[in-house]
């Protein structure tokens, strides 16, 4: 019995040894051999300011009569994998609901960081990135028309209701939010990048109009019941190279 137990211990130790040994060998490859080779060969990539526009917004503007928007995007590379990124834009959207019709119009800015998780080959400069943004918007919302909801499950709408078409404007509304972003950027031509990203937004605070609700915020899109939102970007941008590192 004792002998058998010792045998097990022996095998387990051997196994553990290999696990550790493998770990060491991995790290060594990363630390010295691999990066050193890269350094000596010197594949350098461009650092600089990347400017572009979101091309999905003009497309949506022409497709949907209730939407107009424009967004300028920019990022600046500060580390090998880290970019400071911002989006500035204008949006006007009419929310057509069952009992209300309201138009939101205003400007927004989103500011944050992108982390590139993609390991590029040679001197390629593509990205699969995750990002964080803080968003802020300033806007006006006009309640164009509304109708009271007097129907119910039992009787339907027994009495009529009137459409109220007097505009009610609320000015200087604002919203703050946080968003997580996930996207890709591909260098399609030299210094010209095509990017796609989706984002999940969580509202931190919003100024609501009196007697109504903010249903849409520029830069945030539709404000869902749980104070969350989703965004989509399709960008084309140009890199103005400042230096090669």
């Amino acid at each position: 019995m004792i002998k058998a137990k010792r045998m097990y211990k022996y095998f387990i130790s051997i196994c553990l040894f290999f696990v550790i040994a493998e770990n060491f060998s991995q790290e060594q490859l990363k630390d010295s051999t691999f990066t050193k080779v890269k350094d000596t060969l010197g594949y350098k990539t461009n650092y600089g300011l990347r400017l572009g526009i979101d091309i999905s917004r003009p497309v949506f503007s022409s497709l949907y009569s209730n939407y107009a928007g424009l967004e300028i995007v920019a990022d600046y590379r500060i580390k090998k994998n880290i970019y400071i990124a911002t989006e500035i834009g204008f949006e006007e959207n009419t929310s057509r609901e069952d009992y209300s019709n309201s138009t939101t119009k205003g400007n927004y800015i989103r500011l944050g960081l992108n982390y590139n998780a993609y390991k590029n080959w040679l001197d390629m400069n593509n990205e699969i990135f995750v990002g964080y943004r803080y968003g802020f918007s300033l806007f006006n919302q006009t309640l164009n028309s509304y109708q009271t909801n007097v129907s119910d499950g039992e009787n339907g709408s027994y009495f009529p209701t009137a459409m109220n078409t007097t505009d009610q404007s609320a000015v200087n509304l604002n919203a703050h939010w946080s968003e997580l972003m996930l996207g890709i950027k591909v260098e399609a031509l030299k210094n010209i990048f095509v990017g796609f990203s989706v984002s999940y937004k969580v509202l931190m605070s919003v100024k609501e109009p009196i007697g109504f609700k903010t249903l849409f915020s520029p830069g945030f899109n539709r404000i869902f019941e749980s104070n969350t939102g989703f965004g989509l970007n399709y960008t084309i941008s140009y890199l103005i190279p400042f230096s090669k590192k």
Partner: protein, 161 residues
């Protein structure tokens, strides 16, 4: 594998962004007036109204036709400050000559309140007062005034017959 996961996340993002998230689950959005019918002699017990019909003077369609009820919830006309209902009961065999008619009038003032994106605006009825014509089958009712209809779990007015 990494790419597949990313692709999946993209699609989930796109799909969930398009899905309609809020359906109006409040029923009713605008409060209704709840009326219970009690026995006039034994005032603690509910009493059914036989062959009960009800119509508002603003409408040609009836709200109830020949129902047996002891509790009803009725909408109020939000475009006016008074709703007049005509109530019919028939304790006998249903012949027209045995129909008993009563009118019940509710006066109030209204305001509007936003509920949610999907439910829209509701009408709030305040300072309600009730009255019925004399010498009808409605012998009495209580109370005669109600501040508002916010509570939809119990009757606002009891009618004795």
């Amino acid at each position: 594998m990494k790419k597949r996961i990313l692709l999946l996340v993209f699609f989930i993002g796109i799909i969930s962004a398009c899905e309609k998230d809020d359906f109006c689950i409040e029923n009713p959005v605008t409060s209704k007036l709840i009326v219970d019918f009690y026995d006039d002699t034994n005032r603690e017990t509910l009493k059914n109204v036989q062959r009960f019909s009800m119509v508002s003077e603003d409408k040609a369609d009836s709200l109830f036709i020949n129902k047996t009820v002891n509790s009803i919830s009725i909408p109020l006309n939000s475009l006016k400050t008074a709703t007049v209902y005509t109530l019919k009961k028939n304790d006998a065999d249903g012949a027209t000559i045995d129909n008993k008619i009563a009118t019940f009038t509710i006066t109030y003032n209204t305001s509007e309140e936003f509920v949610s994106r999907s439910c829209g605006f509701k009408v709030v009825f305040n300072n309600l007062t009730f009255s019925s014509d004399t010498n009808s089958w409605i012998t009495d009712f209580t109370p005669t005034t109600v501040i508002n209809l916010d509570d939809q779990s119990e009757a606002h007015v009891q009618i004795f017959h």
